[in-house]
C-alpha cells in the first residue's frame, strides 16, 4: 500500500494512505452524514492534519483510534466543527425555498381556509439572511401569499446576530445571489457596500432569542408549519442532537415540515419524521396523525 499524500510543510512524518482515507470517509459519513468527494481531498487532509497535530497523535492511525473510541466524542465534534463551513448569504441553498413555494406551502394550505395563519420559523437565523430570503421568496413566487397571514420568525441563540438581523444591513457578499431587480425592490442603498432591507419587510419579521437545548425557551414556539433548521444540528453531539430534534418535533404542527442543511439527514438523527421529496430536495414531515 503506497501513501499518496505527503505533508512536507506541516507534518513531514505523517502520511495518510488511500485505504486510510477510505476508512475515514466511511466512518465520518456514518457518524455525521457528511460525505466528501475527491475534489475536497485537500480540504479534508488539511483539517485532519490540524487535528492530528493538536491531539499530539503520532500517526493517522493513532488519531483515528482516538476519534473512534473516545467515549465523550469530543474529538469527533472538534473535527465536525472544522469540516463544516458556516457561511450565510441570501438565498443560500435556494432549492429549498423553491420547494417551499412549489410544494410545501401548497400542500399545507390545501385544507386551510384563506385568512388562516401560516407559521414559518428560521432557526438559527444568524444575521437574518434566511428569514428575509424566505419572505422575499414567498412574496415573489407564491401566488397565494396574500390569502394567508404569514408569520415568519427568525431565532438564534446569539443576541448579537439578532441585533444585526433587526438592522437588516448587508454587504455585496451577502447579496451576491440576488438579481438586480430584487435588490432594487427590497433594498435601499446606503453606501458602496451597504444595503438596507426595506423597512416594511424588516418590520414584518419577528427576531427572537431561542436556545434549542432549553425546554422553557422552546415552549414559546409551537404550531409551526415549516421550520428551517439548516446547518445547526451538525454541530451538536449525538445526544444533544436527538434532544434538539425532539424539541423541534414538538414545535411543529402535525403535518408540518422541517428543512435541514444539505449535509444533514434526519434519518441519521431520528425516526420521528417522514422523509418527503419536493423536486430535488428532501425535507422531513411530522406525521399528520397524532401518533
Amino acid at each position: 500500500m503506497q501513501p499518496n499524500h505527503a505533508f512536507a510543510q506541516t507534518a513531514p512524518a505523517i502520511q495518510i494512505t488511500e485505504d486510510e482515507y477510505e476508512k475515514f470517509y466511511e466512518y465520518f459519513y456514518r457518524r455525521t452524514g457528511i460525505s466528501f468527494s475527491g475534489r475536497k481531498e485537500y480540504f479534508v487532509e488539511k483539517r485532519l492534519l490540524e487535528r492530528i497535530a493538536k491531539t499530539g497523535s503520532d500517526s493517522f492511525k493513532a488519531y483515528f483510534t482516538l476519534l473512534r473510541f473516545q467515549p465523550s466524542g469530543e474529538e469527533l465534534q472538534h473535527l465536525v466543527n472544522l469540516m463544516t463551513v458556516n457561511e450565510t448569504y441570501f438565498f443560500r441553498e435556494d432549492y429549498q425555498f423553491d420547494a417551499l413555494v412549489r410544494g410545501i406551502l401548497p400542500e399545507i394550505t390545501r385544507t386551510r381556509r384563506p385568512g388562516g395563519t401560516l407559521r414559518i420559523w428560521s432557526m438559527p437565523c444568524s444575521t437574518g439572511e434566511e428569514p428575509y430570503s424566505i419572505a422575499i421568496q414567498i412574496l415573489e413566487y407564491w401566488s397565494r401569499a396574500d390569502e394567508f397571514a404569514i408569520e415568519i420568525t427568525g431565532s438564534d441563540i446569539d443576541s448579537r446576530v439578532l441585533a444585526d438581523a433587526r438592522k437588516g444591513i448587508y454587504g455585496n457578499r451577502s447579496l451576491q445571489r440576488l438579481s438586480p431587480e430584487l435588490r432594487k425592490k427590497y433594498f435601499r442603498r446606503l453606501g458602496d457596500d451597504q444595503f438596507e432591507i426595506h423597512e416594511e419587510l424588516r418590520g414584518s419579521i419577528e427576531f427572537s432569542i431561542a436556545n434549542l437545548s432549553d425546554p422553557i425557551h422552546m415552549h414559546r414556539y409551537r404550531a409551526m408549519d415549516v421550520i428551517f433548521c439548516r446547518n445547526l444540528l451538525i454541530y451538536f453531539d449525538d445526544t444533544s442532537r436527538r434532544s434538539a430534534v425532539e424539541a423541534l418535533y414538538e414545535c411543529l404542527t402535525p403535518g408540518g415540515f422541517i428543512c435541514l442543511g444539505h449535509s444533514e439527514s434526519m434519518s441519521r438523527m431520528s425516526s420521528m419524521f417522514l422523509p418527503r421529496k419536493f423536486g430535488d430536495t428532501i425535507v422531513y414531515q411530522r406525521p399528520v396523525e397524532q401518533d
Binding site: 500500500m1 473510541f69 415573489e140 396574500d146 397571514a149 419587510l201 422553557i216 425516526s271
Partner: protein, 218 residues
C-alpha cells in the same frame, strides 16, 4: 419561476404578520414529579407520553420503568423520546433493562436497544462476554453489530475473538464486517484462519481478505 406581479414590498404587510413569542406564564412550564410522570406514561395522548418520557430523564431511577415501557409503547415518536432519555440516564440498570429486548420478536425494538446500548460502552462492558457466549446466534450477531459501533478500546479485540472462536458463520461474517472498519493487527491472524474454519462458505474467504486489506495487512 417568473416573479409574481402585483405583490410589491410595499404590500408586505398584506401577507406578512409579525408573530409574538413572548414568554408564557409559569403554568406552561412543566412540573416534574416522578409519580405523576410515571403515571403519564400510560396517558392516551402521545404528546403527554412524550413529555413524561422526556422529563423522566431527571430521575435516573426511572430507567428500568422506561425500558419496560418501550416494549408496549405503540407510538414511534414516544419510543424515540424514551431512547434519548435512556441515553441521558446511562446507567447499569438501563443496560440490564435493555438486554432482554435483544430477544424481542420486534426488530424495531431490537434495533432500538442496540441504538441505546452502543452509547454506553462502560456500562455494556461487563455484559459482553455473556452476550458473545449466548446460545442464540441472532443475539450474538446483534452484539457484534453493537460492538462494531461501540466507542470502547476493547471492541476490536472482542470482534477478533468472535472471528477466532464463534461456531456460526453469520456471526463471524458480521464480525469481519466490523473488523474491516475498526480492526487492528491483532485481528489479522484470526481473519487469515477464518476461511479454513468455514471451507464450505466461499464468500467468507473474500470478506476476510478484504478486511485484512483494510486493516493494513498484506
Amino acid at each position: 419561476m417568473p416573479p409574481k406581479p402585483g405583490l410589491e414590498p410595499g404590500n408586505a404587510a398584506v401577507a406578512l404578520k409579525k408573530p409574538n413569542h413572548a414568554p408564557k406564564g409559569a403554568e406552561d412550564v412543566p412540573h416534574a414529579d416522578l409519580a405523576a410522570l410515571t403515571l403519564a406514561l400510560a396517558s392516551p395522548e402521545a404528546g403527554e407520553r412524550r413529555r413524561a418520557a422526556r422529563e423522566l430523564g431527571a430521575f435516573p431511577e426511572a430507567g428500568p420503568r422506561l425500558c419496560a415501557h418501550l416494549g408496549s409503547e405503540p407510538a414511534a415518536s414516544v419510543r424515540a423520546v424514551i431512547l434519548t432519555t435512556l441515553i441521558r440516564i446511562k446507567s447499569p440498570a438501563v443496560v440490564e433493562g435493555l438486554l432482554p429486548l435483544l430477544r424481542s420478536e420486534d426488530s424495531a425494538l431490537r434495533n432500538a436497544a442496540i441504538e441505546v446500548l452502543q452509547e454506553m460502552p462502560a456500562e455494556v462492558e461487563p455484559h459482553v462476554a455473556d452476550l458473545l457466549a449466548d446460545p442464540d446466534s441472532d443475539v450474538r450477531i446483534l452484539t457484534v453489530n453493537m460492538l462494531s459501533l461501540l466507542p470502547h478500546p476493547k471492541a476490536p479485540d472482542w470482534l477478533a475473538e468472535v472471528v477466532a472462536r464463534d461456531p456460526h458463520v453469520n456471526v463471524c461474517a458480521a464480525a469481519v464486517d466490523g473488523l474491516a472498519e475498526i480492526g487492528n493487527e491483532s485481528a489479522i491472524a484470526p481473519l487469515q484462519a477464518l476461511a479454513a474454519r468455514f471451507p464450505e462458505v466461499p464468500f467468507i474467504r473474500f470478506a476476510a481478505a478484504a478486511a485484512i486489506r483494510r486493516i493494513g495487512g498484506s
